[in-house]
Each structure stands twice: as C-alpha cells, then as structure tokens.
Amino acid sequence: MPAETSSTTDVVMPQLGVSVVEGTVIRWLKQPGDHVDADEPICEVDTDKIVTDIPSPTTGTLTEILVNQGTTVEVGTVLARITSGSAGLRAGPVGSGRAHTGLAAGARASSPPPARSAEAADAGASHAPSPSMPVAGAYHSPVVQRLADERGVDLTGVVGTGRSGRVRKQDVLAAARASEDRPLHTESPYRPDGEARGQLSRMRRAIGAHMKRSLDTAATCTTWMEADMSRVEAARRGAKASSLLGVTPLPIVARAAMDALAEHPALNATLEGERYTRHDAVHLGVAVSLGEDGLIVPVIRDAHTLTVEQLGIAIRELARRARKQQLTPDEVTGGTFTVTNPGQFGSLMATPVINQPQVAILDLEAVVKRAIVIEDDDGNDVIEIRPQTILGLSWDHRALDGAQAAQFLGALRRRLESWNGRS
C-alpha cells in the first residue's frame, strides 16, 4: 500500500457467532467529522445476547455513517467509512484494501468468523486474519489435507483465514458445512421497500409455541354447523337501546353455549396427558385480539352462573383491561372451555386451535344474510332471507368423538334459533 495515499476504510457489521446473521446498531459514539484513533469504539451493536462496541479499524476521520441508530443490518454490511489522511495517521492493523480492513475491523471487535479460535486471536492485530483469495498450490498441513480428503473438500477453492491466507482446520470444516447446507434454491436477496424486518416479539413466539404444541398434542378435528340467527339478531336489535349487549352476538352465543355445555358436559373438560377431567363450573376463556401485539385469552370465572347481560359486561371489561395490559395472571389461567370470535371481522370459517389443556373451542363466525330454503306454516318450501352464521367447534379426538361435538353444536343451534331472551 502506498503510504502517501489517503485511503478510505470500511467498518463492517461483524459476525458475532455461528448463526448470527444480523445485528442492530444501537448507538453511535462518534459522529461524522470526528477524529478516531485505531481501536477506539465508534458504535455499539447488539445481537440477541451480546452488546459490543465496534472499534475503529484505523486512525482517521469518520467521514460517513451508513446505518442509522436502531437499524438492523446483515453481517458484513458497511456501517461507516473512515478516511485516513496520511501515512502518519495510520496506526491500524494491516489491510490494504477496503474489504480487508473492514473485515479486520469486524474481527477486532472480538467477533471472529465462526470457526476462529484462540489461535487466530493470538496472532494479534498485525496479523489479523484477512480472508484472502484461495492460493493455488499452497502448502497445506497434513491435518488439513486429511480432513479435506475425509470431507471431500477441494482445497483449491477454500479461503484460508490463517496467517498469510493459510487454510486451517476450521476453514475446511466450514467449507464442508457450507456444501452440505447449500439450499436447493437460493432466496432472492431483493426485498420490497419498507418491509419491516426483525425478530418475532416474545409474545408472538410464545403464541407460536403454544399453538404448535396444541397441534402437536391434540388430535384436532373441526365440526361445522349452520344456524339461523334471526331470533338472536332480533334480540340484539331490541337490546341496543339498553346497550347492555355489545355490538356482536357473542354474549348471547356464550350464554347459549353455557346451557349446551350443561347438556353435554364432556366438552367442558381438560385433558392433561392421560388424565381427563370434567369440570362442573364453566370458566370461559374469551380470545381477545391485541392487534399486532398478539392475542390473549382472559377467563370469565363461573360463566355458567352469569346472565347474557353479565356475560356481555364481563367480556367487554376483560377485553378492555387486556388491551391496557391490566390483567393479572389469575385472569388468564384456569379456563375450561374457550370461545373465539373471528366473525367480528367478517370471517366465514376459521379453524380454531384448541387452547390446551382444554378439549374444545367454539368458533363464532360472521352473521350474514343468506337466501335459504325453509318450510312455511303450510308445509311449502319457500326461499327466505335470513341472517345465517356458521358455528365451528374444534375438538380433541383423544377426548371426544365427532358425535358429541355434533350433538353439542346441535344443542347450541337449537338454543340460538329459538332464542327468546334466554336459551
């Protein structure tokens, strides 16, 4: 490298561990125009378990910041550029090209590529391993040679990270792993603009784990039944004035479900391992959407003792408190049966996932006007416009059979279709 030339050095996001593919810049400690000394921290980056500062690879002036605070970028992304004015200022580690010094910077941030060990670290700053082009006909140690033969790795294609680009054991292992792991197709690196990226929130992961576990555990089946909601809709219209009922038929359906459960108690139960427990009281879980944050299922204790109005108030109150994060743990545990209401968003049929360790979940769908065929008082088939809905029930075939599920839904439908203020 000609010492007189002023040069620009890239600072890159280092690799912090084998599977770490990205990091977040959490704070810039230097600003454009600031003088930085070699090894002086210029910013902090965060992976899930490690926060580390990134030392400047060289002495010079921070000329450009390319990644804003709070932004998550892939390993190897250029974070900033440092311009060194003259040879006298250069005190950084070796590296004649931008990529090389950049990578060396990453390495100096105590963050070697996966396979590096103390051996490379011992080499010190002046020997910071810059991956170099594969060296044809280079000398390989017997260990490396044997390993390459065993793993079927062609050493001429392997980039060495040892001194002077020497291929080390780890490089061979990495190359072998890379050839095994190579996917059949490579996903395009292009992403639509503005796509939000990042790790799933803890709540999303928790919901995901819970749902997967339910599907892995239960023999989930879903049974559907259509119901004529004319009486229920009429009751809601009549009740609007007193505003005791919410905007959805959920409280009425919940009340009717309480009575249908009394008829079919096998569904108000929990199954833990091989232990099946029927419950006398219905502690009714009600799925509440928290928007993008996720979902929570607060529980109404002794729901079977409540009137429609009380159920309506309880559901509204729990949903409000859930959205304001005001629930206590006791209010989200101990449910014996759950109801979910995607119909409030217009859904026609969703297959709910059973809330473990319960054995059934009732799904209330949208009420829509349909032209249906009914029998009039004179026994003639006529076409009528009726508000119809689909009642869904996911149930665990380990605990129940389809007949019980269908009978429960039949009882629920009967109660809804003959609704007159109570079921």
Binding site: V18, S19, D46, D48, S110, P112, A118, G294, V332
Partner: protein
C-alpha cells in the same frame, strides 16, 4: 470448546496462572450492581484492576433489554409492584429477564478478545459446576445465538447476556438455584411459555420446600440459601479453571468503588 483455549488475553510473563479476583456481594439492588459494574469496568479498561468475577443475588426485578417490548409484561404494573418486583430498563441486548433471590448471578468483568469463545467458555464452566451438583446440563452452540445459555434437556437453567466495551465485559450469567420461578411465567404473555425455565430445586424436586405459597407476595427478605452458596463455590472453581485462572477471594471494599449508591444509573 476446549477449556484449554482461554479466549482471554493474558498479561505478559509469569509462570503462575493470572489471578481472577472473586467477590461475593450478597443481595444487591439491580441498579446499584449496575453502577458498580460500570465503575469496575472503567478501572478494568484502565488496567487498574485485574479480571474480576462478581457473584451476587438481586431482589426481585425484571430487566428489559433493548429487544423487549411492553407486551412482555402483560399484566398491570401495579400488580407486579404488589408482588415486590421492580422493572428496570437496561442498555444491554436481549429480551426481558427476571432476577430474584435464590438465583446466582455472576458478572465477570474481564478483558476478552473473542466474545463468542468467551460465551462458550462461560457456558462450559457453568455446565461443569452443575455437574458438580450432580446435574447433566448442556449448551446449544449449534442452534443459534438465542440458545445461548445452559440447558437441562430443553429446560433453561442459566441465562447469559454480555456487554463488551473496550474489550472488557460486563453483565454475565444467572443460574436459577432455588428462586421462585413464577415470575418467569408472569413475564410471558397469556400464561404461555416460550421457553421452559428450570432451577436446581425444580430439577431435584425440592420446589415445594423452597417456594412461598402461591397467594403470598414474594418475600424480599429471605434467608441466605445454602444451596446457592454451595453452587457459588463450584462456579468459582470451574470458572477459574475454564479460563485458566487462579481465583483470589476478595472483599468489595478493596476495589475503591462504592457500592452504596442505589440509583446512580437511571
């Protein structure tokens, strides 16, 4: 990871393994401990102190790292306060965690070059210390950075998170010994469990003896746990061994750093 490859820079010269100051601080408020760590780190960066390992317990506290969101604590803040649990935002990576009495917390303040090797060595030291207690634990380096920590089968017994500045570490590890485990459940939404946490007491089936009744708020005061003191001994020995050090027990007074300030950092 072979313990024979300590990723820590060793001072030049000397036949003896370099020393590791070990300080057992008892129960220290999280914020006070954080201020202490930062003060010690400054002196370590300036080479005024050798590498240290601080061992302590915290009163009940949730610490929110940069990646934790409000929904990680789904219940009313007042309710957590009623349980005697503080909530502290921290400038570190990772998600929300819980610390409480009965959990052995270790803050190594060490000069390191290779932070990943450092994490792995720390995991190996904890695995060895748990083996001394008769437990078979493992780490999961192949499964991704989010699996950092020490596990018994698929249950997590020790959490790890570090901050490196000027090549000097702060934060560290937390091993559940006989602490109340319920706060871990209260920190995950909907009573769902992303990762199952465990403790020495849970693994030994001693939980009912050591946990307060479910309807009682967490006791801030509790007797020092003999199980925790015993594990601390193993951790000191194994940690020093893994990093090739000679442990030297010392009192915090020798640091010249006050431990009194409770709210220095906020």
């Amino acid at each position: 990871m072979a313990a024979a490859d300590p990723p820590v820079r060793e001072p030049a010269g000397g036949m003896e393994p370099p020393e590791l100051l070990v300080m057992r601080l008892g129960v220290v408020e999280y914020r006070a401990a954080l201020a202490l760590q930062e003060a010690v780190r400054e002196r370590r960066i300036a080479d005024e102190l050798p590498d240290l390992l601080l061992l302590l317990e915290h009163p009940p506290v949730y610490t929110q790292g940069r990646r934790s969101s409000d929904s990680d604590l789904p219940f009313a803040r007042e309710w957590y306060a009623e349980q005697g649990i503080d909530v502290v935002p921290v400038r570190r990576g990772g998600q929300l965690t819980y610390h409480g009495p009965g959990q052995l917390v270790g803050y190594p303040i060490m000069r390191v070059d290779d932070v990943v090797a450092y994490l792995r060595t720390m995991e190996q030291a904890l695995i060895a210390a748990l083996a001394d207690e008769g437990l078979t634990a493992r780490n999961r380096p192949e499964e991704g950075i989010e699996y950092t920590g020490v596990w018994i089968e698929d249950r997590k017994i020790a959490s790890i998170g570090v901050h490196v500045s000027h090549h000097v570490t702060t934060h560290g590890f937390a091993v559940n010994v006989d602490n109340d485990m319920r706060p871990f459940e209260w920190a995950v939404a909907c009573g769902l469990h992303g990762v199952q946490m465990t403790s020495l007491a849970d693994e030994r089936g001693e939980t009912t003896l050591t946990r307060p009744p479910a309807n009682e708020p967490l006791a801030r005061e509790r007797d020092p746990s003999p199980a925790l003191a015993q594990l601390a001994d193993h951790v000191v020995a194994r940690f020093a061994q893994a990093f090739g050090r000679t442990p030297v027990e010392s009192a915090v007074g020798t640091l010249g750093v006050p431990l009194a300030a409770t709210h220095t950092a906020s």
